[in-house]
Amino acid sequence: MLSNDHIDTLIAREIEGEISAEEMAQLQSWLEADPANQAYYEALKDTWDLTADAYAGMPEPDVERNWQRFSGNVAAPEPLRVVTRRNSWWRMAAAAVVIVAAAGLVFTLVQRGKETVLVADADKKTFTLPDGSRVYLNRNSQVSYNAGFGDDNRTVKLKGEAFFDVAADAANPFIVAAGASQTKVLGTSFVIKAYEHKPVQLDVVTGKVAFSGKKGEEGALVLTAGNSAILQQDKEPQQVKNGDPNFMAWKENRLYFHNMPLYKTLTAVENYFNVRFVVSDSSLLTLNYTGTFSDPSLAEVLDVISKAAGVTISEEEKDVYRISR
């Protein structure tokens, strides 16, 4: 004889749809044993059915309004930065062209045997190329060049981010291929950043470069000091404004913040130290911060920022820090 409790369990499982064949057979024979059993079962089953679409007419959230609220807080947009040409400390840096390049495109690799690859993994590195040009590589970056480099061409390929101090050679232009972009250096020195899956970005500090995409020199944009451009995948280069004073922070070992919202400040710190920040209260991200660090340690930066902005920064796990009030 089956207990009521057991029958209830079988009915519950039958409703869930996770009943075994054996249990189903038990339930069946119990149902057939007495019309009252059948009525008991149907009462529960009808109630289950009745409640099916109770929430079908429930209020709809306003998605657009919620998206505005969300993006206004957390995903504060910062794609292209505003350039302030006067009083920018970095304009005093050595004659330099900065190219921020990132590419969803794979490089066409030439035969490996004839190619030289210079790599910086966990640490920044500096190399001298055969023509005497210097390359400063940021973490997780690499440049490569073919056997003829310095003789019949001066073309290098870049993934990641690098500063180039190019030796003068008017007859043989220095060319950097990064993603879909090609940058022909008409001046003397420059930096390139080329991370995957992001638009290629070029910042000219001093000197002059020709920046081109798929169409080659035909569609090239000639840029002089203080100007910037981006190249989105499958598009032509486009001149933009760039106001990020920290785009060369990794090379200069210096962080500079002037009245900068915390979300931008923290992005620069993230990039510089290769760490991540998470925030539970997104209103904190709009606080402004001003300060300068020269060859700082992470602990120093976190200490100063947390005191100045009145927030608490605690290490949640390795390389992940939580910002809270």
Binding site: D46, L50, M58, N73, H197, V278
Partner: protein
């Protein structure tokens, strides 16, 4: 914003659509997930917008069923997406719809627990229940639905949570047991208790 428009052509329609998606879902939801995954790699802001606009209603409604107050549900749904944004570099293997649904349910249950500790849960639930009564609908079907929701909301707390998770969130007893840290046996018992109580409070519709 082509991507967003594309995604919005398969809008999440709340959990009632969940069951039918499970049948024909492979063809319609998997490419959507793959699309979101590739957006995540290409442009995390566009990814976030597409994810948000596709799944905010689902997240919000799942929370609302457990916490029948739209303003609170929206606040909590916002928090779900903030957490997702903070974890955006750990989402490579995620099946977003299921992930967000689980996050929504957890967010709502956590909120209920926190409120209970502060003794605030009744104050929070009662205005919404009153709302349902005062905005008297003219259509009979709508009235029925509201009465059912009221009846569900008046179940004892754990019983109510279990019933909602099973009936509307399509969760198995095992999943519910894990979420609420109960035994499967307790979940099964509470389901029957819920149905018996609802049977009484809704008898006018069950004749």
């Amino acid at each position: 914003m082509k991507a967003t428009a594309l995604l919005l052509s398969h809008p999440a329609r709340g959990m009632n659509a969940h069951a039918e998606n499970q049948h024909k879902g492979y063809f319609c939801t998997m490419p959507e997930n793959a699309r979101l995954q590739s957006l995540l790699q290409e442009d995390e802001r566009q990814f976030m917008e597409a994810l948000f606009k596709t799944y905010f209603p689902l997240v919000c409604k799942s929370i609302y069923r457990l916490i029948p107050d739209m303003a609170t549900a929206e606040d909590l749904a916002q928090e779900v997406f903030i957490k997702i944004w903070n974890r955006r570099d750990q989402l490579n293997e995620v099946y977003f719809k299921a992930y967000l649904h689980r996050a929504a349910v957890n967010m709502a249950l956590d909120h209920i627990d926190k409120n209970k500790r502060r003794g605030g849960v009744h104050q929070e639930l009662s205005p919404a229940v009153e709302d349902l009564r005062t905005t008297a609908p003219t259509v009979h079907v709508r009235e029925t639905k509201q009465k059912i929701r009221e009846a569900v909301d008046q179940l004892p707390e754990k019983c109510r949570e279990i019933f909602i998770l099973s009936r509307y969130e399509e969760m198995s007893y095992k999943e519910i047991a894990q979420h609420l840290q109960l035994s499967v046996k307790t979940v099964e018992n509470q389901m029957i208790t819920a149905l018996k109580k609802l049977r009484v409070s809704l008898k006018e519709f069950l004749e």
